[in-house]
C-alpha cells in the first residue's frame, strides 16, 4: 500500500508550451498540423540543423565536389553562418527555417515542426526545471500546510495514535492531507517509522517550536535538493 513519488514532473512537454513561445506557431492550422503529424521531430529532439546536415550529406554523396559554400549559396546565406548552424554554435532563426524549408522542398507543416523544435528546451534543461519545480513545491508545502508541524507535534505527545484517521480528526484536516504530509516528512527524513509501525520524529531539538520546525524542514529541503543534484551529476 501507499506512498507516491515526490511529485516528479519528468516527462513530456506539451506542444502548446513550445507553440506559445514561438511566433511561427500562433497560426492555429499550423499548430494543429504539428500536433497531428510532426510531433515525433520534437520528441526525438531532432533539430533543423540535423535536417540541413542530412541534406548536405546527400548532396555531397551524389556529387563529391559539392561544398558547404555551394549549399550556403543554394540556401541564400553565407557559408560561415551555415557552418555555425550545422555545428550547433548558433540557432537557425524561425524566418530562416521557414525560408530554407521551402528551398529544401519541405511543406509548411514540417517547417513549423522544426521551428517548434528549436523552442523546446533540451532534456537537461527540462530536468533542471522539473527539479526546481519539485523542490519549490516541497518547500511551499512545508511553509503553507500546517499538517506537517501538527503531525510532528502530535507524535511527541503520550496519547499519539499512528492512525491517520485519528490524526486527521485531531488537527482538523482530511485523511488525504495527513497522508500527503506524512509522506513528505518521510521523504525529507524528518520522520521515520520504527518497531510495530511507530512514528519517530527525527527533528531536533526536542523542545521544537513551529517556527523552528519550519526552519529545520526548509533546511532539509535544501539539503535534499543539493543531494539530488550531486547524485545526478555522479550518474551522468
Amino acid at each position: 500500500m501507499i506512498f507516491a513519488n515526490p511529485g516528479s514532473t519528468v516527462g513530456y512537454i506539451p506542444i502548446s508550451r513550445g507553440a506559445s513561445q514561438c511566433p511561427a506557431l500562433r497560426s492555429k492550422s499550423i499548430a494543429v498540423a504539428v500536433r497531428r503529424g510532426y510531433d515525433y521531430i520534437r520528441m526525438q529532439g531532432q533539430q533543423f540543423r540535423t535536417r540541413l546536415q542530412e541534406e548536405l550529406d546527400t548532396r555531397s554523396e551524389n556529387n563529391p565536389r559539392y561544398s558547404l559554400r555551394a549549399f550556403a549559396a543554394f540556401l541564400g546565406t553565407d557559408h560561415s553562418t551555415l557552418s555555425q548552424i550545422l555545428r550547433g554554435k548558433r540557432r537557425a532563426p524561425a524566418a530562416q527555417i521557414r525560408q530554407w524549408s521551402k528551398k529544401l522542398g519541405l511543406d509548411s507543416e514540417e517547417a513549423a515542426a522544426y521551428i517548434a523544435a528549436e523552442y523546446v528546451p533540451d532534456t537537461a534543461t527540462t530536468e533542471r526545471e522539473n527539479q526546481l519545480r519539485h523542490w519549490t513545491a516541497e518547500a511551499m508545502a512545508i511553509v503553507t500546510e500546517p499538517a506537517h508541524w501538527e503531525i510532528v507535534r502530535l507524535s511527541r505527545t503520550p496519547h499519539f495514535q499512528t492512525d491517520c484517521r485519528w490524526i486527521a480528526q485531531e488537527i482538523g484536516v482530511t485523511v488525504d492531507q495527513v497522508n500527503l504530509a506524512f509522506n513528505r516528512l518521510l521523504r525529507l527524513r524528518l520522520m521515520e517509522t520504527g518497531a510495530e509501525g511507530a512514528w519517530i520524529d527525527l527533528t531536533n531539538p526536542p523542545a521544537l517550536t513551529e517556527k523552528e520546525f519550519r526552519r529545520a524542514a526548509l533546511a532539509r529541503v535544501r539539503e535534499k535538493a543539493a543531494e539530488s543534484r550531486t547524485k545526478k551529476r555522479r550518474i551522468t
Partner: protein
C-alpha cells in the same frame, strides 16, 4: 518464491473521483477503513492483483505504480541503488506490519518494494 508484482496503486490528485470512476466502471469495491485511511481496491476477482488509491501531491502527475514483493526490503533497496535507482521513501513500517520503500528506476519510473507482514 520469486518477486511477483503484488499490487497496483493509482496515484491521483482526485482520489475520491478516481475511486468513484473505477468502482462505477468495473464494480470494484473500495474500502478506506484502515489506519492509513488507504483506499483499498478489491477487484472482486481472484485473477490478477488487487490495488489501491493514494493521493498525489499537487505538483505530481497522476500515474500508476507497481508493488513488487521481496524478502528483504533493505537489501533490495541497496541492490536497486547499485543498479542506478533512486530512493524516495526509505524502508518504512506500516501500521499493519507491511514494510515498503519507494524508488525511481533509472528511467525515472516510480515503483515500490514491498514485504508483506
Amino acid at each position: 518464491m520469486g518477486n511477483p508484482v503484488m499490487q497496483f496503486q493509482m496515484i491521483s490528485k482526485k482520489p475520491d473521483e478516481t475511486a468513484r470512476f473505477y468502482s462505477e466502471l468495473f464494480g470494484w469495491t473500495i474500502d478506506a477503513d484502515n489506519p492509513m485511511g488507504y483506499r483499498r481496491i478489491d477487484t472482486g476477482s481472484r485473477e490478477g492483483i488487487q490495488g489501491g488509491i493514494w493521493p498525489a501531491p499537487p505538483q505530481a502527475p497522476d500515474f500508476v505504480q507497481l508493488f513488487v514483493a521481496v524478502g528483504d526490503v533493505q537489501a533490495s533497496v541497496q541492490q536497486a541503488e547499485g543498479l542506478g535507482a533512486k530512493l524516495l521513501i526509505p524502508p518504512t513500517l506500516l501500521p499493519e506490519g507491511d514494510e515498503m520503500a519507494v524508488m525511481h528506476d533509472p528511467a525515472g519510473m516510480s515503483f515500490a518494494i514491498w514485504r508483506r507482514a
